[in-house]
């Protein structure tokens, strides 16, 4: 087999293998089935959205715009998700040194690595664009020719965002990066992603809440496609290519070819100036500190350092803890929530409830505790040989989780204090409730991690993102919310009419549940924790 194809094959196999093993499911065939089913489950709401969009544009006489719109959405999504993925496979993969020693050209290594990016983006393209192509085909003319065309479009769609993202990463890294900037570079690329998501949210919100803009767009009739594609011409070329225009087909394919050629030309520079330069280390300077601290302090500090010194863990933690704050800030900018509305006489009686919802948001989306053992990976043995009890070891993990989540909740609390004119009583009741919820879920999450430790990972992304523990932790939060909602429905308006009493009862229930979970953890699970090993 050709050396390059063999390299691509092994990279894809490695990528798939890591994805399957990162799910941490004992039965590999079930994990593979899950990987197949998960995109289908995600694409169901996308399918619904595509159908609604199709009907709207069909009424305007331009049903093909459903493809244009989903294409623009897919390209943006792939572009912004592509950047951190490209950074991760080039700057954090452990096979670069191994590959460097093989008789391969630099561009072969770069392109083989990009094949995994392409595969990942193709999956996103299928989830986002697949339903639109299906809806359009089923409601217009479906034929073998259409199916071939749709498949060809799907295969082409990831190229453009991947190539643009790769060229940007290559240019930036070739001139900016050195070994000490690697983490900073990774953080920056992830913040670009977060910033883009928030900017998109603001733009979409402004558009959808401005009837004038929508009206002018609709009235433009024939020029609707041009308006949509004005900022991004490939979307027009792709749509027209889809409906049979040869010129636009040439333009679209030509653009992709130019980008592939640029990438080919840049790959040598990128490989030498960015990738290989990272393999060389430097020596840091500064004072050496010999201060002694307590064991518990050091254990907690260790968990903090594991998070803060590993960009993937740091981003994941910041993302889950600060994301609610970002969303609330965006919502306050777009006017969805405002001080006037929240402090209106109708909402004042529910301030305690609103305060609670705001401060427990980081607890709901965060999953620090469910991966606090996993994050240690192969270095987990270390605390096992130290002269500390298993309870001390477990306690430090809970304390680290509680402290981090508490910081997230405190930030949200300050934001809530700015938004709401809260009474001292509401702050007190809300804070105590928040603490009870943080304690409960910190223990529950650690229990999940003890049952599913998953320490044999090679990529930190696998430890915290593609880990089923996170889904289980989020699922438990959803179940808890469902139970609370069920009780609310059963008790009619009693809960809303007696909000403070209900919060106090709920606080007692969460504290009780925390004590129960804690008892179970310290008395029934210590042995299981002791038996975890890499």
């Amino acid at each position: 087999m050709n050396r390059f194809y063999s390299l691509i094959k092994i990279q894809l196999k490695d990528f798939l293998g890591k994805t399957v093993s990162s799910l941490n499911i004992k039965y590999k065939s079930f994990a593979k089935l899950l990987i197949l089913l998960l995109p289908i489950a995600i694409s169901l709401p996308v399918f619904n959205l595509s159908l609604t969009t199709f009907i709207t544009f069909a009424q305007l006489g331009q049903p093909e715009l459903v493809i244009t719109l989903t294409y623009i959405g897919a390209v943006m999504l792939m572009f912004f998700l592509g950047i951190p993925f490209i950074v991760s496979i080039f700057f954090y993969s452990r096979d670069i040194q191994f590959l460097s020693a093989l008789p391969l050209k630099e561009e072969e290594i770069v392109f083989s690595k990009l094949s995994t990016v392409y595969f990942y983006l193709l999956l996103i393209a299928t989830i986002v664009m697949g339903p639109a192509l299906y809806v359009f085909g089923m409601n217009t003319t479906v034929s073998i020719f259409y199916i071939i065309k749709a498949l060809a479009v799907l295969l082409l769609v990831p190229l453009l965002p991947m190539l643009i993202a790769a060229v940007i990463v290559m240019l930036m890294s070739s001139f900016l990066i050195n070994s000490s900037h690697r983490n900073l570079f990774s953080l920056l690329s992830n913040f670009i992603l977060i910033g883009a998501v928030i900017a998109l949210q603001v733009i979409v919100n402004r558009y959808t809440t401005d009837p004038e803009k929508i009206r002018s767009l609709v009235e433009s009739g024939e020029g609707l496609l041009s308006i949509l594609g004005m900022r991004f011409p490939p979307s027009i070329w792709m749509t027209r290519m889809f409906v049979g225009s040869l010129t636009d087909t040439i333009l679209f394919l030509g653009l992709n070819l130019i980008l592939i050629y640029s990438l080919f030309k840049l790959s040598k520079l990128f490989y030498r100036k960015a990738i290989l330069s990272l393999q060389q280390g430097g020596r840091a300077s500064g004072e050496i500190d010999y201060k002694n601290e307590s064991r518990n302090y050091q254990l907690i500090k260790r968990h903090f350092l594991i998070i803060f010194k590993e960009p993937t863990f740091l981003m994941n933690t910041l993302f889950t803890l600060i994301l609610p704050l970002f969303l609330f800030v965006v919502m306050s900018f777009t006017g969805e929530i405002s001080r006037e509305i929240l402090n209106s006489p109708q909402l004042t009686p529910y301030h305690s409830l609103i305060f609670i919802i705001i401060i427990i948001a980081p607890v709901i989306v965060s999953n620090i505790g469910s991966t606090i053992i996993t994050r240690e990976g192969k270095s987990f043995w270390q605390t096992k040989v130290l002269p500390i009890s298993d309870k001390e070891n477990i306690k430090a993990r809970i304390q680290a989780t509680v402290l981090l989540t508490f910081v997230g909740s405190a930030l949200m609390g300050f934001f809530a204090l700015y938004l709401l004119e809260l009474s001292f009583k509401a702050i007190l009741i809300g804070s105590v409730f928040g603490i009870a919820v943080i304690l409960f879920f910190s223990v529950i999450d650690l229990i999940i991690n003890i049952y599913r430790p998953f320490l044999n990972w090679n990529n930190p992304t696998a430890a915290v993102k593609n880990n089923l523990n996170v889904m289980i932790a989020l699922g438990l939060r959803a179940v808890t919310a469902g139970i609370i909602y069920g009780i609310y429905k059963l008790t009619d308006d009693y809960m809303l009419n007696n909000i403070n009493t209900v919060i106090l009862i709920a606080t007692a229930v969460f504290f009780g549940a925390y004590l129960g979970a804690r008892y179970f953890l310290y008395n029934k699970l210590v042995d299981r924790f002791r038996k975890i090993y890499v």
Binding site: N292, I306, L386, Y533
Partner: protein, 242 residues
Amino acid sequence: MIILLKLDSVKKVYDNQTKAVDNLNLEIKKGEIFGFLGPNGAGKTTTIKMITGILEATEGKITINGHDIEKDPIKAKESFTYVPDHPEIFDSIRGIDYLNFIADMYQVSSKKREEKINKFTKDFEIYDDLRTPINSYSHGMKQKLLISGALIPEPEIFILDEPLGGLDPRSARTLKDMMHDHCDRGGTVFFSSHVLEVVENLCDRIGIIDEGKLIACGTLDEINKNKSGSLEDLFLELTENE
């Protein structure tokens, strides 16, 4: 004679069928350097992991300085430090952070840790790299850092799994000198190795394990009784017979 480490009919079975260690009995005396030999997959690392509390024995009892590793793990662990064969530690932190962490775990005072850190890291020539993140260290440097960390608390027993892999000749010599110094101060060293020459020259006693069973234990002369040749010949003969 004080027995610091005792393995009493220790057995480790994986998945209810694979016997990794089978009925192992061993006594390590205070002040000796004990070499633990065996072919690949013989059960050396599994034994060390059971001694250090990373793995639980399926059957049998392990006592360290009189403390059962399963029943009284903290007291037992206060008596030893351990250096694994693969230096897998959380490596995004700086070398000095790691050493301070270990020193705090064994409650070593600031003054003493400063003295020890300076001594060991200078001996191993990694002192100037202590401010650098561990992930930029070579395999050998990580190994030296782990060894330095393990020596800071002045443990009663110093347990090392294949400690010489990855060390350059000068560092290997430094480590051997440190092992001797440790024993001269009343400490004990228990280590596994593939390097027969090192074991032959360094150890007071050796144990040979094959297929989970201890097939020979004693001084080189005791084992070599009625047999001729070097330790290499003896090792090959014993492990082949099994």
